[in-house]
C-alpha cells in the first residue's frame, strides 16, 4: 500500500463529507457504495482526487470572492486608475510549484492502481492437476445482450452473470458485432469489448447480491452501440462459493435432465425458437440468441423488462417495440397462436436450474 | 512594390519569391501548408504500418511477394531527378532567365509524368493479380497511402503545366515568381514523401 493513502482519518472524514453532500445512489448500481476490491480502490482514488480538487476550488473561490468585494469601481471611484502591475515571479513560481506537488500526490497512487487493476497474470495460472486456479468468464457482447461462458466449467449463460463472492474473477471481453463496454458500477470500472481483440481484466465481488433490492447488481453497456444501447442491461448475481458450485452443477445437469413445466410450450419452443436459443446450459459462446437454460431464475425479460409472463409474451409478439434494432424476429399470431404463446411462456418461466 | 514593374536581371530582387507582402504571405503560408501535409502523410504512414499484410483469413498477399523493387527503383530515380531539374529551374528564376526556367520546369513535368505512368502501370499490375482496393485492409491502406502521393504528383503536374502555358507569353514578374517558387517547394515535398514511401513501403516490405 502506498504511504500517502494511510491517512485513513482524513479519508474517513472526507468520505463522510462526500456521502453527506452527495447521497449515495442505489446500492445495486452506485459507484459510491463499492461492493468489491476494484470499485473500492477506485472509490479511494475518487476521495483522494476530490479532496485535492476541493482544496483547489476553495483557494480559488476565496481569492475570487475577496477580489470581487474589495476592488469594485463603485467603491474606488470612476476615475481611479489602478497600478499597472506586470506580474510577480514569486507568485508565478508559487502557483506553478504547489499544483505540481498536488498532482504528484494524485499521480503516484494513480500509477500504482493502474498497474494493480491491470494485473491479469493470474489468469493463466493452473494448479498441479492442470485445472485453472481462478474462475475465468468469457464475455461476448452482442447487439443488446450479453453472453457469459465459463470455459473451464463447460457452461454458458446469458443476461445474468453468476459469480462467487470473495475471490478474483477474471474476464475475457469481446464484442461480436459492434463495440460495447462492460460495466458493473458498484463492483468496478468498465472495460470496452472491442470487435477485434480480447480485453482482459478482473473484478472481485465482496457482497452477496441476495440482500439487494432485486437480488442482483446492475450491469450496463457503457459504449453507444445503436438505438437500444440504453436497454443493453445485464444483472449480476453473486453467491457464496458453495452455492455457486451447486449452481454450476445445476447448469451442467440441464443438458441431461431438462425441466419441462409445460409440454406444449416445449413443442412450440422446438418449432420456433430452438434455431437461435439453447435450453441446455452446457456449451460455448457464439449462439444466435441468449441461452435460456436458467431463464426462469432471471430477474428481467430481455435484460430490462419486469420478469413476468405478460412482458415475456409482449416481448415475443413485438421485439422491435421494446428494443429497437435488436436482431430477434417478432412472432405474429399466425406464427404462434395466443394459446401456444401462453404455453411457451409457462415453459420458459419454468426453465430453472435445480438447486 | 508594383506588380507590373518590368525587370532586368540587374534589377530583379535576390529573393523574388518573397519580395512583396503578398508574396511573403504565400511563401510562409505554403510552408505551413506543407507542415499540415506532413501530418497528413504521417497519419497515412501510421495506418499503413498498422494494417500491412492484414487481410481476411486466407488472403494471399504479402509485401514480400507483391512488390518488385526494380520498377520502384526506376520510379524513384525519375522523381529524384525531377527534383533536381526543378532546382535548376529555381536557379534560373533567381537569375531572371525565364526561357531556361520554363525549359527546366518542362523537363521536371515530363519526368513527373513518367513517374506517374509507371505508377499507373504498377497499380494496374496489382489489380490484375487480384490485389484490388477492396481486397483487404492491407490493400486499402496501400492504395490510399501510395495513391494519395500519386494524386499529389498529378496535381503538381496540372499545376506546373498551367503555369508554364499561362505565363509563356508574358515572362517573369513578381506576381508569378511566387507561384513558380511555391510549386518547386511542393515538388520537393512530394519527392521527400516518396523517399519515405520507397523506404517504408517498398524496401521494408521486401526486406523486412
Amino acid at each position: 500500500m502506498i504511504k500517502g493513502l494511510k491517512k485513513w482519518r482524513l479519508f474517513s472524514l472526507l468520505a463522510v463529507f462526500a456521502l453527506f453532500m452527495a447521497g449515495c445512489g442505489n446500492e445495486e448500481i452506485s459507484t459510491f457504495q463499492p461492493a468489491g476490491q476494484v470499485a473500492n480502490d477506485q472509490f479511494k482514488l475518487l476521495l483522494l482526487a476530490s479532496g485535492i480538487m476541493l482544496l483547489v476550488i476553495i483557494v480559488v473561490v476565496i481569492i475570487y470572492t475577496v477580489a470581487l468585494f474589495r476592488f469594485r469601481r463603485s467603491k474606488l471611484g470612476e476615475d481611479h486608475i489602478p497600478e499597472q502591475v506586470e506580474g510577480s515571479h514569486t507568485l508565478e513560481l508559487l502557483w506553478t510549484f504547489i499544483p505540481i506537488v498536488l498532482l504528484l500526490i494524485l499521480a503516484i497512487p494513480t500509477v500504482h492502481y493502474t498497474y494493480k487493476l491491470g494485473d491479469v497474470k493470474a489468469m493463466e495460472a493452473v494448479d498441479d492437476d492442470g485445472n485453472a486456479e481462478n474462475l475465468v468468464v468469457d464475455v461476448t457482447a452482442k447487439l443488446y445482450w450479453w453472453e457469459f461462458e465459463y470455459p473451464d466449467l463447460g457452461i454458458v449463460t446469458a443476461q445474468e452473470l453468476v459469480v462467487p463472492t470473495d475471490e478474483k474473477v477474471y474476464f475475457n471481453l469481446i464484442a461480436a458485432d459492434v463495440k460495447h463496454s462492460f460495466w458493473i458500477p458498484s463492483v468496478g470500472g468498465k472495460l470496452d469489448t472491442n470487435v477485434e481483440n480480447v480485453n482482459k481484466f478482473y473484478l472481485s465481488f465482496e457482497k452477496e447480491s441476495e440482500g439487494l433490492k432485486d437480488g442482483v447488481f446492475y450491469g450496463k453497456c457503457a459504449e453507444l452501440c445503436g438505438p437500444s444501447h440504453a436497454l443493453m442491461d445485464f444483472k449480476v448475481k453473486t453467491l457464496p462459493r458453495d452455492q455457486f458450485d451447486s449452481w454450476v452443477a445445476g447448469m451442467q445437469e440441464t443438458a441431461e435432465e431438462p425441466v419441462v413445466a409445460n409440454a406444449d410450450g416445449e413443442e412450440v419452443f422446438s418449432q420456433s425458437c430452438i434455431g437461435c436459443h439453447a435450453v441446455s446450459g452446457v456449451g460455448e459462446s457464439g449462439a444466435q440468441g441468449p441461452n435460456l437454460a436458467s431463464f426462469g431464475d432471471r430477474n428481467r425479460v430481455a435484460g430490462f423488462l419486469e420478469h413476468d409472463e405478460e412482458n415475456l409474451k409482449d416481448w415475443i409478439r413485438d421485439t422491435q417495440k421494446h428494443k429497437p434494432g435488436n436482431t430477434m424476429p417478432s412472432f405474429s399470431k399466425d406464427q404462434i397462436s395466443d394459446e401456444d404463446l401462453d404455453a411457451l411462456a409457462e415453459y420458459l418461466m419454468g426453465l430453472k436450474v435445480a438447486k | 512594390m508594383d506588380l507590373n514593374t518590368k525587370f532586368t536581371p540587374e534589377t530583379w530582387p535576390a529573393h523574388p519569391e518573397r519580395a512583396t507582402l503578398e508574396a511573403k504571405n504565400k511563401f510562409v503560408g505554403f510552408w505551413l501548408f506543407l507542415g499540415g501535409e506532413t501530418i497528413l502523410f504521417a497519419t497515412l504512414f501510421a495506418t499503413y504500418m498498422a494494417l500491412k499484410n492484414k487481410g481476411p483469413s486466407g488472403f494471399g498477399f504479402t509485401t514480400q511477394e507483391l512488390y518488385t523493387l526494380p520498377l520502384v527503383f526506376v520510379m524513384t530515380m525519375l522523381l529524384l531527378t525531377s527534383s533536381l531539374t526543378s532546382v535548376y529551374a529555381m536557379y534560373h528564376l533567381k537569375s531572371f532567365n525565364f526561357k531556361k526556367m520554363q525549359l527546366w520546369l518542362g523537363i521536371t513535368a515530363l519526368l513527373g509524368l513518367g513517374f506517374l505512368m509507371l505508377e499507373v502501370y504498377e497499380f494496374s499490375h496489382y489489380v490484375q493479380l487480384g490485389f484490388t482496393f477492396s481486397n483487404s485492409a492491407f490493400s486499402s491502406a496501400f492504395y490510399t497511402l501510395v495513391g494519395t502521393h500519386g494524386f499529389h504528383v498529378a496535381v503538381g503536374l496540372v499545376w506546373i503545366t498551367l503555369l508554364i502555358f499561362r505565363n509563356s507569353k508574358r515572362g517573369l514578374n513578381l506576381y508569378n515568381a511566387t507561384k513558380y517558387y511555391t510549386f518547386s517547394l511542393y515538388w520537393h515535398f512530394i519527392d521527400v514523401v516518396w523517399v519515405f514511401i520507397f523506404t517504408v513501403v517498398y524496401l521494408m516490405g521486401v526486406i523486412g
Binding site: 445512489g25 459492434v178 444501447h229 429497437p324 434494432g325 | 510562409v28 494494417l51
Partner: protein, 625 residues
C-alpha cells in the same frame, strides 16, 4: 468599396456579402452562421433533455434520440463554437495587430463558404431522414454498422467544413507572422491574438488526421475500403486513435481563444494590465503543445494496457499546471484593479468558478483507474459541458457583448445582457452540476431512456429544468440582438471607455481599410499607452497616409465550395444510382474549373487613393460630431 462608391439595393447588398473578402464582413458571416447552428444545436439539446425528464419517456424514439445526440455534439463543436470563435478572430485579430486585412482574403472567404456548405450538407440529413447516429465520435464499428446514409452525411459534411477550418488556421497564422504593425512584437500582442495564433497552429496539426480519418470512413462506407472492417483485416481502434489525435487538440482549439477573450475582458474591466502576461503566453503555448500528447486519455477503457494508461494519465495531469497558472493570473489581474461589472465582465466572472469546476473534474478523469468508473458515464457529460459551456460558450457570449459595438457600431442592451447571464448561468449549473452525481450513481451517457427505480429520476428532472432556464436566457439574448439592431444607436471608437488594444482606437465599425495609416506600436496595450500619454488621436501612425492596396471581391470561393457540395451527393449515391458517379465527377470538375479560373486570371487588386482616404476620414469625423 464600401464608403467610397457603394451601390444600394437588396441584390447589390446580397452580391456584396456573397463575394466579400473583407475580414470584418467574413467575421460577421461566421458569427451569424455560428449563431444559426447554435440555435439548431440548442433545439436538439432541449429535445434530448425533455426526453430524459422522466424515466421510460417516449417523446422521441431510440433511433431519433441517437440522431439528436450525434447532431447536437457535431453541430455545437464544428458548426457553432468554432465558427463563432472564427468570427471574432476574423473581425478583431487583424485590428489588434494593426493590419489592413488577413493574409489571404480570398482563402478566408473560401474557408467561410466551406464551413457554410459543410454545415448545410450535414444538416440536410434531417430532410433525408437519414441522420448521423453514431455519436459525434462516430466510433468505427458502429459507424460502419449504421444503415442508411446518416454517417455518409457526417463524413462528407465534416470533410468539407474541416477543409475550411484548416484554411482559416493557416490564414490566421500567416497574418500574425507577417502582418503585424511596426513595433507589434510577438510579446506585445494582445492575448486574444496570441491564443488565436496557438489555436491556429493546433488546427494546422490536428485537422489533417481528421481529414484522413474521414477519408477512411468515406472509403469504407462508400468505396469498398476495409480500414475498419476487422473481418477484412481492418482495425477499429485506428479510428479511435486518429479521431482523438484530432479530437483532443480540438477542445484546446476551442478553449484557448476563449481564454484569450477572457484575458481581454478581465484587463479592460478591471482597468489593469493583464497580470503575468509573459507567463500567460508561455502557458498558452505549453497547453497547445501538451494538447497533442494526451489523446489516449479518451481511451483508458479501450484496453491499451497499464503502461500506456499510466503514461497518458500523468501527461494529462501535467496540463493542469499551465491551466492553473492562467486561473491565478486572471485572479491577480482583477486583484487590485477597478472592477466594473458589465455584461462581458459578468460572463468572465462567471467563467472562473465554472471552468475551475470543469478543470478539476478533468484531472479526476485523468486518473486512469478512476476513469474506468467515470468514462462514458454522465460524469463525463457533466465534465465536458463544464469546460465547453462554462468556458467556450461563456467566452463566446462575453465576446459577443464585448465586441458587438466594434463589429456592428451599436451596443447590446446591458440590462437584457445581465438577465441573459443570470438565466443562462443558473440554468447551466442546474443542468450539469447534478450530472456528476448521475455518473457516480451509475448512469451511462448517450442513453435514450432509463428505467424507473435506479435512483436517477429527481436528478434528471432537475437537469431538464436547468436546460429550460438556459433556453430562456438565450432567447432573451436573441431579443436583445433584434432590439439593438432596430434601435441602432451609433457609438464611437471606444464605447466601453476602457479599451486597451488597437481595435478600440478606430471607428465602430471600422472603415473597410481599417487604419488610414498603419499604427506604430510602442508596447503592450497600445491604446492604453496612448491614453495615459493623453494622445488625442489615440494612434501614433507609423507612416504617412498613402494609397492602400485592396483585394477584389470574388464569387469564386462560393462556387468552388458549391462544386464540393454537389460532389458530396454524388459520392453518397454512386453505389445505388446510375447518376451518382456522374454527379461526383461533375462536382469535382466544377470545383477544379473554378479554381483554375481563379488561378489563371490575374487578380492584382485595386488601390484606394490617399484623397479618398482623407475624404472618408473627414466624413467619419463629421459624422461623429
Amino acid at each position: 468599396m464600401s464608403s467610397v462608391a457603394q451601390k444600394s439595393g437588396f441584390g447589390a447588398t446580397l452580391w456584396d456579402w456573397l463575394t466579400t473578402v473583407d475580414h470584418k464582413k467574413i467575421g460577421i458571416l461566421y458569427l451569424l452562421g455560428g449563431l444559426f447552428f447554435f440555435v439548431l444545436g440548442g433545439i436538439e439539446a432541449m429535445i434530448i433533455r425533455l426526453q430524459l425528464i422522466t424515466p421510460n419517456n417516449d417523446l422521441v424514439s431510440a433511433g431519433l434520440f441517437n440522431d439528436l445526440i450525434t447532431m447536437h455534439g457535431t453541430t455545437m463543436i464544428f458548426l457553432a463554437a468554432m465558427p463563432m470563435l472564427f468570427g471574432f478572430m476574423n473581425a478583431i485579430m487583424p485590428l489588434q495587430i494593426g493590419a489592413r486585412d488577413v493574409a489571404f482574403p480570398f482563402i478566408n472567404s473560401l474557408g467561410f463558404w466551406m464551413f457554410a456548405f459543410g454545415g448545410l450538407f450535414l444538416n440536410i440529413s434531417w430532410l433525408f431522414g437519414e441522420v448521423p447516429d453514431a455519436g459525434w465520435t462516430s466510433y468505427a464499428s458502429l459507424s460502419l454498422h449504421s444503415p442508411g446514409h446518416g454517417i455518409d452525411f457526417y463524413a462528407i459534411g465534416l470533410q468539407i467544413a474541416g477543409g475550411g477550418t484548416l484554411m482559416a488556421g493557416i490564414n490566421f497564422l500567416v497574418t500574425i507572422i507577417n502582418m503585424r504593425a511596426p513595433g507589434m512584437t510577438y510579446m506585445r500582442m494582445p492575448l486574444f491574438t496570441w491564443t488565436t495564433f496557438v489555436a491556429s497552429a493546433m488546427i494546422l496539426f490536428a485537422f489533417p488526421p481528421l481529414t484522413i480519418g474521414l477519408f477512411f470512413l468515406t472509403f469504407d462506407r462508400m468505396f469498398g475500403g476495409n480500414f475498419f472492417d476487422h473481418t477484412m483485416g481492418g482495425n477499429t481502434i485506428i479510428w479511435e486513435h486518429i479521431f482523438w489525435i484530432f479530437g483532443h487538440p480540438e477542445v484546446y482549439i476551442l478553449i484557448l481563444p476563449a481564454f484569450g477573450i477572457f484575458s481581454e475582458v478581465f484587463s479592460v474591466f478591471a482597468r489593469k494590465r493583464l497580470f503575468g502576461y509573459t507567463a500567460m503566453v508561455f502557458a498558452t503555448v505549453l497547453i497547445g503543445f501538451l494538447g497533442f500528447m494526451v489523446w489516449a486519455h479518451h481511451m483508458f477503457t479501450v484496453g491499451l494496457g497499464p503502461t500506456a494508461n499510466a503514461i497518458f494519465a500523468v501527461a494529462t495531469m501535467a496540463i493542469a499546471v499551465p491551466t492553473g497558472v492562467k486561473i491565478f493570473n486572471w485572479l491577480l489581474t482583477i486583484w487590485g484593479g477597478s472592477i466594473k461589472v458589465t455584461t462581458p465582465m459578468l460572463y468572465a466572472l462567471g467563467f472562473i468558478p465554472s471552468f475551475v469546476m470543469g478543470g478539476v473534474t478533468g484531472v479526476m478523469q485523468g486518473a486512469a483507474p478512476l476513469d474506468y468508473q467515470l468514462h462514458d458515464s454522465y460524469f463525463i457529460v457533466a465534465h465536458f459541458h463544464y469546460v465547453i459551456v462554462g468556458g467556450v460558450v461563456l467566452a463566446i457570449f462575453a465576446g459577443l457583448h464585448y465586441w458587438w459595438p466594434k463589429m456592428f457600431g451599436t451596443m447590446l442592451n446591458e440590462l437584457l445582457g445581465k438577465i441573459t447571464f443570470v438565466f443562462f448561468f443558473v440554468g447551466f449549473h442546474l443542468t450539469f452540476l447534478i450530472q456528476h452525481w448521475l455518473g457516480f450513481w451509475g448512469m451511462p451517457r448517450r442513453v435514450w431512456t432509463f428505467m424507473d427505480g435506479q435512483g436517477w429520476n429527481l436528478a434528471n428532472f432537475v437537469s431538464t429544468i436547468g436546460a429550460l432556464s438556459m433556453a430562456i436566457g438565450f432567447t432573451v439574448m436573441v431579443i436583445n440582438i433584434i432590439m439593438t439592431t432596430i434601435k441602432n444607436e451609433r457609438v464611437g471608437n471606444d464605447p466601453w471607455g476602457d479599451g486597451r488594444t488597437l481595435e478600440w482606437a478606430i471607428p465602430s465599425p471600422p472603415p473597410f481599410y481599417n487604419f488610414p495609416a498603419t499604427p506604430l506600436v510602442r508596447g503592450l496595450d497600445t491604446l492604453w499607452i496612448e491614453k495615459m500619454e493623453g494622445s488625442k488621436e489615440m494612434i501614433t501612425p507609423a507612416e504617412p497616409i498613402t494609397d492602400i492596396h485592396m483585394p477584389h471581391g470574388s464569387i469564386i470561393p462560393m462556387l468552388m465550395t458549391l462544386g464540393l457540395f454537389i460532389a458530396g451527393f454524388g459520392a453518397m449515391f454512386h453505389q445505388e444510382t446510375s447518376w451518382g458517379l456522374g454527379v461526383l465527377i461533375f462536382g469535382l470538375a466544377f470545383t477544379f474549373v473554378t479554381m483554375a479560373i481563379r488561378s489563371l486570371k490575374d487578380d492584382l487588386g485595386y488601390y484606394v487613393t490617399k484623397e479618398q482616404i482623407l475624404q472618408d476620414q473627414e466624413n467619419i469625423k463629421r459624422g461623429r460630431n
